[in-house]
């Protein structure tokens, strides 16, 4: 009986002790959208931070895909149950920016916490996306990628093609697809993220506007403009390929990645960040190429980013904000950024990380991994190639996807589909403008 009492007492003592030691640490909640290999790498970063200091504990939670994470964050904000840090994909940027009062701007957060933070350390093509026109950085770039062309070299050989052949223009890609189809290859071409690759990046790459007012950077009264003859020509080509069985539509997001990794698809347009999964799963020789363009325009402009940034949501205690600032500063450290870049295929978002990766000889050992960075920064950005800042853009992408499905299934011509997408999208832009006046 005496023993029992002693045991209970000691358990109570340790429980108390454990309780206080947990309480002493400030908990920082981070909601994100990464599963699979990317989720593992993210978890690694968090663990490293938690082990590096004893004041804060970052707890990360996956809330589904990008859209689901954003929606979960917004719903939680309305209910006052939101996390400290929310991952928002580039498409949601305008919605967050317009919601003044929902977030603590990055420059403010860092200043209040006394964190040393240099916004100029970021690659401008990336940080420009998250910075106001008067140069204030609002959120922290986390993962940024840009679309490239992925090549299954084994299937190229099977199609009787030289796996190193020139695939820089869509015309040459078309010829390769013809040859592949003739040799009975079931899926010569597939693509992920239709609107992002074939309209948004397509516009920047050909230096034509996706929307007026510098793609929305210059004001909420922007209007969509992706129904120009060049856009129509490209989408019509994709539609024709779909009808001829050279291009197979697998879904709106990155569903086609599965087919490529399984070795079924010969050429795929997908984010440079497809690298992590392809490197892990592909049982064939693969190559990375620049995104093709139309030779009729001069040399291509630059492509734009996709990916996410981290927003510090408002309404948290000073103590927690300090922890948030410390964690975000940790994430932008050169060693963390360089490792992230090399593991995932996302761009090195700080210039120091890009330099470090280059000097370590990584690009030489892994040919093609530097293409995304080159493609993004090859020219001085123009009004058409800075990026996009459009409200309700997740919804507009949904409309674009719907209309493009109409083209692929042969129900609509590209002209009809893109005109309709522009018209429907503009209605939403006006509604967003009205709600955020």
């Amino acid at each position: 009986m005496k023993h029992l009492k002693a045991i209970i007492a000691s358990i109570a003592f340790f429980a108390m002790f454990a309780g206080t030691s947990l309480q002493a640490k400030v908990e920082i909640q981070w909601w994100h959208a990464f599963g699979g290999r990317l989720g593992e790498l993210l978890d690694e970063q968090v663990n490293k931070f938690n082990a590096s200091q004893d004041k804060y504990t970052v707890v990360h939670t996956r809330k589904g895909n990008y859209s689901e994470t954003l929606n979960a964050g917004i719903a939680a904000f309305r209910a006052g149950q939101h996390p400290n840090i929310l991952m928002v994909f580039e498409v949601g940027t305008a919605s967050l920016m317009a919601a003044k009062g929902a977030y603590v701007p990055m420059y403010q957060l860092m200043k209040d916490a006394g964190q040393r933070f240099n916004p100029n350390g970021f690659v401008s093509a990336v940080s420009g996306y998250y910075t106001t026109t008067d140069g204030k950085m609002l959120s922290m770039p986390y993962n940024s990628s840009t679309p490239v062309l992925w090549v299954n070299k084994d299937l190229m050989k099977k199609a009787g093609l030289d796996p190193e052949m020139d695939l820089s223009t869509w015309k040459r890609v078309g010829n390769a697809l013809d040859a592949a189809k003739a040799k009975g290859i079931d899926m010569p071409f597939c693509t992920c993220w239709h609107s992002w690759v074939h309209l948004e990046n397509f516009s920047a790459y050909h230096n034509i506007p996706f929307a007026t007012k510098s793609n929305g950077f210059a004001g909420l009264d922007t209007e969509l403009a992706f129904n120009s003859p060049v856009h129509i020509k490209h989408i019509q080509t994709l539609g024709k390929w779909a009808q001829e069985g050279k291009f197979k539509y697998m879904g709106r997001r990155n569903e086609a990645g599965k087919n490529f990794r399984a070795g079924e698809c010969m050429l795929m347009t997908e984010s440079s960040a497809g690298y992590a999964g392809i490197k892990k799963e592909a049982k064939f020789e693969f190559g990375i190429r620049h995104l093709p363009y139309y030779g009729a325009t001069e040399a291509p402009q630059n492509t734009i980013i996709g990916g996410s940034s981290l927003w510090a949501l408002s309404g948290k205690s000073k103590e927690e904000n300090k922890g948030t600032a410390a964690f975000l500063a940790f994430l932008s450290r050169t060693d963390i950024q360089a490792k992230w870049h090399q593991d995932t295929g996302y761009l090195g978002v700080t210039t120091a990380a890009a330099k470090k990766t280059k000097s370590s000889g990584f690009y030489k050992a892994n040919p093609g991994t530097d293409l995304a960075g080159i493609q993004m920064m090859r020219n001085k950005v123009t009004q058409n190639s800075k990026g996009l800042r459009l409200g309700s853009f997740d919804q507009i992408r949904g409309i674009i996807d719907e209309e493009m499905e109409g083209v692929y299934s042969g129900k609509k011509t590209a002209q009809v589909a893109l005109d309709s997408a522009v018209r429907r999208g503009n209605v939403l832009l006006r509604r967003f403008e009205r709600a955020n006046k």
Partner: protein, 293 residues
């Protein structure tokens, strides 16, 4: 004869109906009132500011061709789900009713799918028809039929109807079987002795006697197709391609919680509320008259 009971005083009857009134208020009147109120505003997603817009949300909706198309989609979808699941349920019940040996086993197996949640049923069917790894799509391809429900609207519609009806067949089967077993054997035997064929007996005796159950199932199935098929649609098609499987309820969700347009979403809820009200009145006023109890 109807029985009528009169209470003296008012507090006991008030007390007895109070729980029901409370539940109706909390789960029906309060949320409906909120929906009506919100349908008059245009809020920003974060709930930081809101603007009174009167009936603009309704005007916006009724000028959206995709919203109008969603009415047609809903009618096609709910008719197909109700009719196919009720017809198959009745067919299987008629067969199971005639079983002498092993009836329990058949019945249990037929009821089984009802235990599966709609979202999980959706995933099951999605796996079978998945363009990459699906067994059904593989065999269809071998037969020379190109299956791609991510692109072809009619295939997507067929798949969501199939997945929604599947679990529902069990439910309908259960009720029809109970109904069949409640029909006195003597009536049917008497008709048989008079020389009525199986189909004659089925048409003139069984169907009329089943009409209360059929009516009940019709109401319940339409309500199911309208509201509870959300999980199936969300997992299989998310309303696509080109909104060809976006039924009204799914549009309320996708506009409100995916697109964060809560004003439009509330306006849609109000329209849906009115619609279901009208539907219920029609069902009870016109169809119930033809039902024999």
């Amino acid at each position: 004869m109807e029985k009528r009971v009169f209470f003296k005083g008012w507090w006991l009857p008030a007390l007895l109906v109070a729980p029901q009134l409370l539940i109706s208020f909390v789960f029906f009147f309060y949320p409906s009132g909120q929906a009506i109120w919100n349908s008059l505003f245009l809020p920003d997603p974060f709930g930081l500011k809101t603007e009174f817009v009167g009936l603009d949300n309704f005007r916006f909706l009724l000028s959206d061709p995709y919203y109008l198309a969603s009415f047609k989609t809903t009618v096609i979808f709910s008719t197909a789900v109700s009719v196919s699941s009720m017809a198959l349920g009745l067919y299987l019940a008629a067969l199971a009713d005639r079983l002498i040996k092993g009836a329990g086993v058949y019945q249990t197996l037929l009821i089984w799918p009802y235990a599966i949640a709609p979202a999980i049923a959706g995933v099951l069917w999605l796996f079978m028809f998945n363009g990459n790894i699906g067994l059904a799509s593989y065999y269809l391809k071998a037969l020379g039929y190109e299956w791609n429900h991510t692109l072809k609207g009619d295939q997507a519609m067929f798949l969501v109807i199939l997945a929604s009806s599947w679990g529902r067949i069990s439910y309908n089967f259960l009720f029809f079987l109970a109904g069949l077993q409640a029909i006195p054997k003597s009536i049917i035997e008497a008709a048989a002795i008079d020389g009525a064929s199986f189909w004659k007996r089925f048409g003139t005796i069984v169907i009329p006697l089943l009409s209360p159950i059929t009516f009940f199932l019709l109401v319940v199935n339409i309500v199911y197709a309208f509201f509870d098929t959300f999980g199936v649609i969300h997992t299989i098609t998310s309303g696509g391609p080109e909104q060809s499987t976006t039924i009204l309820v799914y549009k309320v969700f996708s506009d409100g919680f995916v697109s964060q347009d809560l004003g439009s979403s509330a306006a849609q809820s109000v329209i849906l509320l009115v619609l279901v009200g009208i539907l219920t009145v029609i069902q009870f006023k016109y169809i119930e008259r033809k039902v024999h109890y």
